[in-house]
Symmetry: C2
Subunit: 506 residues, 2 copies
Amino acid sequence: MSKTECSVEKTGKQYRPSVHFTPPTGFMNDPNGLVFDGTQYHLYYQHNPDAAYSANICWGHAISTDLLSWKDQPIAVPDTIDGQAFTGCAVLDTHNSSGLFAGSHGNNIAALYTRARPGRQTQFLATSRNNGQSFEEYAGNPVLDIESPNFRDPQVVYHEPTRKWVMVIAQVDQHNIGFYASNDLIHWTHLSNFGPAGLPTVNYECPNLIQIRDESGALHWVLFVSINPGSPMGGSVTQYFIGTFDGAVFRPYDAILRLTDFAKDAYALQVWSNMPGGEAVNIAWMGNWQYCQELPTQDWRGAMSLPRSMTLRHDPNGYLRLVQVPRGIESLRHPMLTEQGAYLPADGRREIALPRGKAIEIVIRLTADESRQTDPNASGPVIERFELAFANAEGERLSIGYDAPSTQIWLDRGKLRGFDHPFFTGRFAAPINGAVYSNPRSVDLHLVLDGCAFEIYANEHLETATALVYPERPLDVLRLETTGVGFTIDSLAIYTLDKTMCRETA
Amino acid sequence: MSKTECSVEKTGKQYRPSVHFTPPTGFMNDPNGLVFDGTQYHLYYQHNPDAAYSANICWGHAISTDLLSWKDQPIAVPDTIDGQAFTGCAVLDTHNSSGLFAGSHGNNIAALYTRARPGRQTQFLATSRNNGQSFEEYAGNPVLDIESPNFRDPQVVYHEPTRKWVMVIAQVDQHNIGFYASNDLIHWTHLSNFGPAGLPTVNYECPNLIQIRDESGALHWVLFVSINPGSPMGGSVTQYFIGTFDGAVFRPYDAILRLTDFAKDAYALQVWSNMPGGEAVNIAWMGNWQYCQELPTQDWRGAMSLPRSMTLRHDPNGYLRLVQVPRGIESLRHPMLTEQGAYLPADGRREIALPRGKAIEIVIRLTADESRQTDPNASGPVIERFELAFANAEGERLSIGYDAPSTQIWLDRGKLRGFDHPFFTGRFAAPINGAVYSNPRSVDLHLVLDGCAFEIYANEHLETATALVYPERPLDVLRLETTGVGFTIDSLAIYTLDKTMCRETA
């Protein structure tokens, strides 16, 4: 896609992201069939092309060479008489283990997904001989049927040590993840179940299993499990477990419940298969079933997060946790402001004009002055905060802040007026442990605001928040404000990002 | 306390609860030393009598015969040269196992608590010979010192099968709970550690161990662990684990992370010891370290939840979970409105005037009409909601609602204007599973609004939300509203509650 093609800036409510993937029209939820075929990345997705709510779900499709500029493709897996095409995966059956690719001259892309009809969910296998443009369903489908009304979202990985395909799949109502093995993607043998584990909930969905490296280079098995409803923040959330997998049983290292996000719009996280060098990359649906069908866009609803590279790191409290870094957006950057060592005194304020209609990326690192808490003459609690707000003259604010005494950050989208819904939570928070820095009064924030899509990464990407945001009017000024103490802005870079996604409707 | 004494109603901002316990003046956080001495219930509490923020913490004290009408007592454990008097427990040493009660003619109340000075937290034993009015510290203190700067909040239970006192105590930074045993409350032997388990966090605090009955009458060991910060809702939260305890090791039944509350103002939950019949009763601090020292009351800050009887029950999703029922408030009720079988049609609205300055209790059960979702001509998602709002003419609303299609409830305190703080989250939600009723479209809510103290119990008390609320003006009307579908109000009872706590400042 040429940049010129996308040069027309939208006016009015600028909810369409320009870098985040959104459907051309209609409704989108979970990412599906994420696979790198050697040349192209595929992004399939749960899609209703006819209306901006969930119904008659098929697999939409887009391809990219960089995970950011996506070309729309025809519907890849339609809704059929066998049911809606629910979430699933795609793998390369390079050695034709299935026997279904005889004579194929392209990439052997096999998809496994759930056919959902009332009262029954079964797993289907389909193969593509045209590089993932369309799929032929295997004649012997379903390949897995346990006579369950709620059994869905298969993801398949190739397990080298046992030389088997391994499927993880949600036993939705039983609150566990089934593990199955196969030599041919057709015949599946039950291995084990994992769960219940983590939060009490109603439904388990969208398991994903992948190996991820920690800071020492060691590989760990990570199992992502989406649950809905039952998030402590309300509705839908992705939890994950870190442990061992021997080809049959997943065993978590510990009894810790980890969430991928401290806001509430990162559900159904999925990972790409066949990534070169075993790179671990995810994408999540920016949505929450509490309000995803009522969002204030008329022609389309649903966005994907940025693609994120994943590693694991021990956080300052000793927990091994996920580190998510938005992948490849450096190539889209146009520096707008870069500075180092600026100082904002206590109760100071600074404003920076922002262009309208462009995705904005901000990378900032701050250090609070020495706390007045140590002053024996101070009475009462010491309030020492830094706030960064995307704002406008109409009084709307999308606020991110750092509370230095408690080393916590906040996200406040509640002062935006474009969407009011009883489940659309305004405020979120996460502890930040300054021990990642030599100065424990330091914090870093990495922000991307792109239409209705907002992402926060903090504490060297140990914390991630993914949030839909709906200002009534464009947010065209950045406000930096301090309360109670001065802050050194060790470094600040503001970029606009080249548009990679051109969509006709706002 | 006579009711007449409390008959003067406050004007202006009515933040002082009339049924919930609050400190006479100054700051209050964790409940401490909860014990029934055979006649009186004792409520000690973390207290700064001199200012409404945390400093120079001592143990405040109140006594009651019903857990609702509290008589203030003198400071029971002062701040001393050995450090602040941090959280701890009280037990009856009836058989003088400590040897410190020789010649005592009252109840042998022994307190164990943390003395906190910079860099060191150690456990102190103290005994009272005047029914808990004051304590004499044991000459050999500390009774437990592991040379840790963050080792606190001992709770002691008598374990009958092993005939030992067992202490649970937070190894704050190690994220585990230490278990210790003693024959005499003086000499303590390490038994085991439990954790890390549950949410990644910064600090573990306030462990409490107690046996609680399930719906079949079977007893289970429950371990409460407060963590701060690290709640998914932000800041402070109480998690709990259900399992076995053999006198040495606590083993949870499962890997489920349970929270006591779906809002964010129920921290440091503690249980009464020596309750007749083994009744399990807790009280929690209505506060969150994210904002507890900045609440919009000037002379006092901090409230206790209502006392709550605890049982365990398998929820409709199969999880064994805590059931909390406010204890004894029936005796305070004055019926204001009682009705059965009223009907509110789709998009209907009803208003009921509420008296100002009184605690209000509402018990309501609803059933939604059959869903329009089954209508083949319906297009788009079906919105079917019931909202109950404490409101006023100035547009403030404290909203509680039920979303019938997703069977979730919400709490929205974000449309009240008396307190704005970046960590003061407005909206909370919990799934409700209608399977507790014969009609899955039914839901029950049990609400208590008492000054700044608001409590929600739902789904036959399987869900609890505890929230501080700060309207700018009194909420003097109850609004019932439906969206998209009619609701039968199977039963509705509104009560005012007799004032049990008379406080001079608002």
